[in-house]
Amino acid sequence: MEEVKVALDSETTQFIVVKLGDEQYGIDIKFVDNIVRMQHITRVPNVQEYLKGVINLRGEVIPVMSARLKMGLPADEYTKSTRIIILRLEQHGTIGIVVDEVKEVVTLDNRQIEKVSYDSKEEKDYFLFGIGKYEDGGLISLLDLNAVVLDKEGV
């Protein structure tokens, strides 16, 4: 038993650190398919506000959503550093999310990740599965991507 635990503890996960507003968020790199620059998004009428539309990614049509609008932050202002992160999720297929800036890739081992538990019913707008602690003491919020992408209004 002891050995197993040690093995688990020393497992590491890589996160892409992105900026949304003033906060930094981490996205598990295993879900990231691609990061592309901001491009023209074709609006799709009559859909949820946070769904910005669709883009052409090398011949594939990919839906794009705004992480800001989904998480209740002020609407995006597209700048030179705005990026679309293309995620490949088992449940929802491929989807792009718009972020303000992509900062870096960090490697955290499991001891640096503090899982948060919450009552999902109460916290309808909660999108994190944990907090990551940097070695220099900085913190990043780790996004629970399924919660971000899930259409909670529809449920």
Binding site: H40, T42, R43, V44, P45, N46, V47, Q48, L51, G53, V54, I55, N56, G59, E60, V61, I62, P63, H92, G93, T94, I95, V149, G154
Partner: protein, 693 residues
Amino acid sequence: MDVSQYLEIFLDETKEHLQSLNTEILNLEQDPENSDTINEIFRAAHSLKGMAGTMGYKRMQNLTHDMENVFSEVRNGAIKVKGNMIDILFQCLDALEEYLNTIQETGEEGTNDNEPLITLLNDVLDSKEGGVPKEEKKEKPKTGNGEEDNKKWLDIKFDDTQKRVISEATSQGKGIYGITVKVQEACILKAARAFLVFKALEEMGEVIISKPSVQDIEDERFDLDFSLIYISESPLETILKSVRSVSEIEDAQGALLEDVPVNGAVAAVESQSAVPEVVAEEKDNAPAADKPASQPAAVKPNEKKAPVSKPVVNRTVRVDIEKLDVLMNLVSELIIAKNSLVSASVGDRNNSVNEHIEYLESVTTNLHESVMKVRMVPIESVVNKFPRMIRDLSKKLDKKMELYMSGEETELDRTVVDEIGDPLMHLLRNAADHGLESGEVRKAKGKPSVGSIFLDAYQDGNNVVIEVRDDGAGINIEGVKGKAIDKGVITPEQGENMSDQEIINLLFHAGFSTSEVVSDVSGRGVGLDVVKSKIESLSGEVEVKSKIDVGSTWTIRLPLTLAIIQALMVDVGGEKYAISLGSIQTIEDIVPTDIKTVQNKEVIHLRGLVIPLIRLSEVLDIESKKNPEDNMTVVIVKKGDRQSGLVVDELMGQQEIVIKSLGKYITRCKVISGATILGDGEVALILDTNALF
């Protein structure tokens, strides 16, 4: 033996055999004396048994074995075909299908032994009047086949190493066998069959030499037979039996080789074969007699295939749908490339660019067409099961009916064919259950007591039309209206104002079923609306016309292809949208003062028709950039008999577009059916005009 890699082949072929059994047994019921039919049935049952055995599905094998026994007796004339026997056989087919489904889902055949069925089959067998021994028949083809043909192993020569292996084996007391295996002419995957034979053999011993070589056999470079030299401890009969149990193997012949001569040829000893020396001599003196028989045929196997006497077997090449999708995508990209060339050349008057474009255009169009053809399959595979279904329904409902089908060879996109089966089945069941009257009622009305259901398919321009027609009672319009009011689908006032056709269309409303009694044939109230939504999901439409006491006609109209369409590009509020050309009737220029209002809705009066107007800018939730006083561009689209006018800002021209799905994430937008990528890389949305009505 690991046979999992052949599971798919097994499933496909079993389905084919089951289908042909279904069809042939139906024929047998009509014409019990037809020996061709009986032979075909026997062959299919035999192959089924062999295949199930090879794959290790013992229960399935047992059941088919007993069925085969029955067929064998029928073939020998020992039992006469009777109604209840046909019923039992159909039950067996259903049981087999069940096995097949279980296998498909789990890889196992399940635990249902189907004992009652086997007992029933054996009862049928016991009822025979004076049996004829089966063995007699089985022996016949063996002797009729000609001996030279079956003893090709005699041609095999050994090199020194092989001789050493053989002599070693002999000294260990193992038997050396020469075996010639003959594959059925109709066999599609000869290499796979040969592989199965080799697998079976390798379980009991060792194959030393084969002719043609193993490599050639794997590449399917052999005609209908191959020979091998084989070492095993098992007796010859066991070996041959295991070889013959591989399906589509016509025959396997073999003999024990008692000593291996050094001069190159092999001696064979079996009662009916020649003495060793003679064989060797024959081999040396007359190689021309033996060799041409095998060699030239092996080089050109196709020539020999041409005269095929066996019907039914589907001679299509199975292509992995994924591979087709890849091809499809390639074509899509080619078209996109073409489109970008087009947009690059706008404004540029360089003629050579235009020439290239024209060439590229013809290439892509041809490529598109040929790839589409690969994707097309006849609807036969779907409609084939319907005669059987109607027969069962006829018994269950106790109504006499006949199904007449035409146009089974009509081709449709593979994906559509896969999906169309259920809706068609619904319509047929409806026709049988609700449409046709019972025999007495029909007689009272002066109609023939046997009801008719027609299933007709044909191509009509860019569409394929499938019609389900019955000569039954027709739809009771007052009944439908009353029901709709009862169920709260419409109010009585609405009912007053509705046309007959509108009332009939209420049948497609969710939760609508007019059958007084819910039967297990139809009438759970989930029928027609499901049919409608299924067909619409395939970009098709369904219509119904009915006349009291004459019958009803259900018309399904489906597009030939789904992936690439001709579309009209329009501009609405600065955004580009595509409208499928297939649904566009005309394009009109309308002066705003021509717009009238009826019941608060805008309409235009066009050539004697009143057509409702739909302002796309409102539907699409965007500001129109046009001056409201200017003339309006109206695209008239049709859905069935109805028309609507879509107000757009501007027309941008016609284009061939590749349809891409919006993905499963965007589900809320009903008016958009998909997206496409334009020449400049921008995404344009495709309007689903059917959803606007």
